[in-house]
Amino acid sequence: MTAAAISPGRRPGRLVRRMLHGGGFWPALPAVLFLIVFLVLPMLTLLAFGFVTIDRGRIVGDSFTLQPLWAALNDTLVWRLTWRSFYVAVISTVMTLLLAYPVAYLYSQTKGIWRTLMLVAVISPLLTSALVRAYAWLVILGGRRGIVNHTLIQLGVIDEPLRILNTDYAVIIGMTQIHLPFMILPLLAVLAERDRRLEEASFNLGASRAETFFKVVVPMSVPAIFAGLALVFAISYTNFIVPQLLGGGNYATLAVQVYEQTVVVLDWTRGAVLAAILLSSSFAFVFLIVWVGSRINRWSEARA
């Protein structure tokens, strides 16, 4: 495909014409080369490292083996961690949707300063580092001095501090909050620009607001819902900062394990194998979400 555009020997006349017309491939060439060198080759190295013996960053010649992959797949710990990554990601993704939809819908119904303020509230966390927000949750959910526990004890609701930090709850709460903007933004774009005549028609035909919402507005936003679900699932499933900081030292998910193997334990073969498992399983789940989304979208369009 692009070979014709980049090899001048082949069709010089067309290439020159293209360059003059500005419609050519060549402006993208530097970016493509950059991505090949700094993304494609590193990814291939990562995959390769899972299947060879490595000694101080060097591949020991001719040592191709499936043993590390086999060992990882037979390790019950890996499966347990994958399961935890999965359910934590699923729960927090569903929670982001439940919280994001009302925000996006309310945004589409408001005007003026409120609208701007809502947008600022949604975007500002996106531009604040996840680390800063994880730290904030450490402070909010922490032990006896944590804001939640301190307030509840002061109010006399509880006597002993709740153990939230270092549990699934803390990880799910942190992830939900940190990933919320990624769910809101695609919904907001679709809901704010939707064609409202259908809703008016629905009202005129005697449907209630709730009926109109569920039968007209929600089906219209199905593609955006699933785009958000896929994105938030992927970033939750592969997040290792939040589980590490809010889950505490003994809490691990598949992504945390990948980090520990490569940075702490320095077992790069295992790290590479686990990273490959993490990435491929994440892609598989994302494709599943996208596939389900397109099925539901087709089904709801067929009904409409």
Binding site: L99, V120, A275
Partner: protein, 268 residues
């Protein structure tokens, strides 16, 4: 419009409640961090027991932190520049180009956004090790540039798609060369988008920890990595102070984006 039924009222109430809770959830952590950064005592409490700027002053005396801020600023400037230099022409080809395989090119250019930062970081670490480079901040710049390239390309593409190509044609018809047309017709129209893309990339690179943890230099760590180790071991209000500064920086970037391409654009 019909009067609201009981179930309508219930749903509306539930919606407003959920939306309000979500908005509170979005802003509360940042507000808490800013509040506790003014804590006069040596440990965190909320609301803070008084008002003092001593943790901000303590940052200035912490050589390790000020050095890491400097490292991060340098890295982010490089990443933003590389992103613009590579991304803007690429966006040009992706929008204006007419050649076979354009859809695959676009998919390839945006593919880094499918990759978790951690995977890009580890891949760069292994790649560097294979060619006997040690983890260094130059490698981090390369890895972060890969990570951030899609942001530049997407923001530029969105703006380019909204431009009228006839202006360029008119310029060409009036005898301007390709470069002249680009410099005097296209670029001025793209200006705001480039500023937004640069600012957005800068803040993403400045905040990034998932890539940086794997490829950054062991000496001369960037700020997020320094903070990461700090947060794991300690919870002094000094962390809140530096976090508050980061929050302020993000507001600055938001202002730039709002003034140039509009905040709503970021969602698309």
């Amino acid at each position: 419009m019909k009067a609201m039924t009981w179930s309508d009222r219930l749903w509306t109430a539930l919606f407003v409640l959920l939306a309000g809770f979500a908005l509170l959830l979005l802003v509360a952590p940042s507000l808490v961090v800013i509040a506790i950064s003014f804590e006069p005592r040596a440990y965190i409490s909320f609301p803070p027991s008084g008002f003092s700027l001593k943790w901000y002053q303590s940052l200035l005396q912490n050589r390790q932190l000020t050095d890491s801020i400097w490292v991060s600023l340098t890295i982010s400037v490089y990443v933003a520049l590389i992103g613009l230099v590579l991304g803007v022409p690429a966006a040009f080809a992706a929008v204006r180009g007419t050649f076979p395989g354009k859809a695959s090119l676009n998919a390839f250019l945006l593919s880094p956004q499918m990759m978790p930062g951690m995977v890009i970081g580890i891949a760069s670490l292994f790649f560097g090790a294979y060619f006997a480079f040690r983890a260094s901040n130059a490698m981090l710049v390369a890895a972060l540039s890969v990570f951030c390239l899609p942001f530049v390309i997407r923001i530029t593409m969105a703006r380019l798609a909204g431009l009228d190509p006839r202006l360029d044609e008119a310029s060409a018809n009036l005898g301007a060369g390709k470069l002249e047309t680009f410099a005097r017709v296209t670029l001025p129209q793209l200006g705001p988008a480039l500023l937004a893309a640069g600012a957005f990339t800068f803040i993403e690179a400045f905040d990034n920890v998932t890539v940086a943890l794997f490829t950054s230099d062991v000496r001369g760590r960037p700020l997020p990595v320094e903070l990461y180790y700090l947060v794991q071991n300690d919870s002094t209000p000094a962390i809140a102070a530096i976090s508050a500064i980061e929050i302020g920086l993000s507001f600055l970037v938001m202002l730039v984006v709002a003034r140039t391409v509009g905040l709503e654009r970021l969602g698309r």
